[in-house]
Symmetry: C2
Subunit: 324 residues, 2 copies
């Protein structure tokens, strides 16, 4: 992991050097606050790796890399307003610390700043980079809209769910790699293969997240299992369980999910037991592995420098190892 | 005005041909709704004029022109959430017709679509066009933030007010022209002069708006005067009046502006009378004329085809003629 840590460090230092105007403070303080919250900086690291893999310098992709991170943080900022989330990474969200109007507008400016940074891609790559970026940006918004729609819907089909997590989470990982590749002048095929790698890895990662939330070891992951069950979140496990359940099991599930008065531990235990009986963890892991395999095949087909494909392979393996 | 009407028609037709995905409907219906609300399409017309003036074809600037209009409508959409405006052009605003979350997210997507359209500028001009656009986009957000800040502040200085209207309204007019010029490959100096023309014309136009709201003829403008007075809006007239007022006049003004119970017509009459006594209309018009003159000098210095500088001059004259 030390190679990745080096990249993360590079990104963190470069992010800290970004300068925003002092005034109006209501606009730029929330941006500084959001970017200082931390995070794994996974997306900008992928931009740099995607670039170096095809002989480009980290230097030529650093601004697009920072732009992708700023864009990602902008989406979190606006999502937090819509989801009424009080906390992000343990800190008050912008709309809580300031107010919704400030969160809307400082988010808009973050988006502008993200675009500006990404448009500092090498001129020869600019048109390709912007195409990939805008496509991904639209996709992420669509993903968030589907996610909000699903909360209101009675039924969500598994392909719809998979499409939602692809749009909301996965495409930006793919786009980050593809943008890096474009900065280095990689050909279309390689750039697309890298996009596919990132995208399918992202889906696999999100499915793993669904599984870990229920079956993860609290000693390892530092949180009590069942958060998604308690918040009635439509995860792969829940949707698949409703699909496989007998009428009686389905009724039990629906009762737990619609009940307003319950003992938390009892609800988590009962729903988890139903998930076990219905073997939906196995289904989720099969789907996860399917996407992981597509990701790895895509990566293997990329004509990039072995040093970097190896780092990406390692990155992918370490990302998924938590569940196995 | 027939030349301008021809341009407007061109824009309206091209806008109507823009296609957005059907799904998710919550995301794209508000965009279709917003763009169909109408408007004078002034900004995209300026893009086309700026381009043709330097020998470019309308074709080469049409997508950036549409992008500027989509961007402008995005800012209105988000502003309406922040200002809690129920109506826009006589129709329910997006956050009223749908809800705030949908308005935030469909606004974000509009911004993405605007960027996409603008990035269809001729490749040779792309980098310049994006620089001008992102700068203006950031400026517009800053203008909105200052405007919101001013509502909460006791005192706003006139230079601060002028800077706010420059950022919030005027720079986008300048940027529209500059982007058109860049699409045609105009040199930096000409492109900047056109920007200055649009920007100062925009400031003059906004100041005229402040004056008309109080002193405009309702028979001509179709609305009762004094809307800004009733909503306690910090306009040039109000700020200048507070600057020039004797302590006694200032107290009278403050009383009217802070009073919660009053007869609307009486408040409008009393404040208007104070404006007349303090001769702030004359000051506003002097400031307006100053900006108008700078705009015209900038335009005169532009090395563009006379046919188009003449159209712009006419455009400017007709825009301002209402007040004289």
């Amino acid at each position: 992991m030390s190679e990745l840590v080096r990249y993360q460090k590079h990104i963190t230092e470069a992010l800290a050097k970004l300068e925003f105007p002092a005034q109006p403070a209501e606009l730029y303080d929330p941006i500084r606050y959001t970017l200082a919250m931390g995070g794994k900086r996974m997306r900008p690291v992928l931009v740099l790796l995607g670039c170096e893999m095809f002989g480009g310098t980290a230097e030529s992709a650093i601004f697009p890399a920072l732009g992708i991170e700023v864009f990602h943080n902008f989406t979190l900022l606006h999502d937090d307003i819509m989801d009424e989330a009080p906390l992000r990474r343990g800190l008050p969200t912008v709309h809580t610390k300031w107010n919704s109007n400030i969160a809307i507008l400082s988010g808009d400016v973050m988006f502008v700043e993200a675009c500006r940074l990404i448009s500092k891609a090498p001129v020869s790559a600019l048109s390709r980079v912007m195409d990939v970026y805008y496509k991904a940006a639209g996709d992420v918004c669509e993903g968030q809209q589907w996610d909000m729609n699903f909360e209101q819907q009675d039924t969500v089909l598994l392909p719809e769910y998979l499409n939602m997590i692809r749009l909301k989470t996965a495409v930006l990982l793919g786009a980050a790699l593809q943008i890096g590749a474009c900065c280095a002048g990689a050909n279309e095929e390689d750039a697309h293969l890298l996009y596919d790698f990132g995208c399918h890895l992202g889906i696999a990662f999100q499915l793993q997240d669904d599984v870990l939330d229920v079956f993860g070891d609290p000693a390892v992951f530092g949180k009590q299992p069942g958060g998604d069950i308690l918040s009635n979140k439509k995860t792969y496990l829940k949707l698949r369980a409703l699909e496989k359940a007998t009428p009686h099991q389905a009724e039990t599930l629906r009762n737990w999910y619609s009940s307003r008065e319950f003992v938390a531990a009892e609800k988590v235990e009962a729903v988890t037991q139903l998930f076990i009986n219905l073997q939906v963890r196995e289904d989720a892991e099969a789907e996860m592995n399917r996407h992981f395999q597509i990701a790895m095949s895509s990566l293997n087909a990329v004509n990039g420098q072995t040093k970097y494909t190896t780092i990406l392979e390692q990155f992918a393996q370490e990302l998924m190892v938590r569940v196995k």
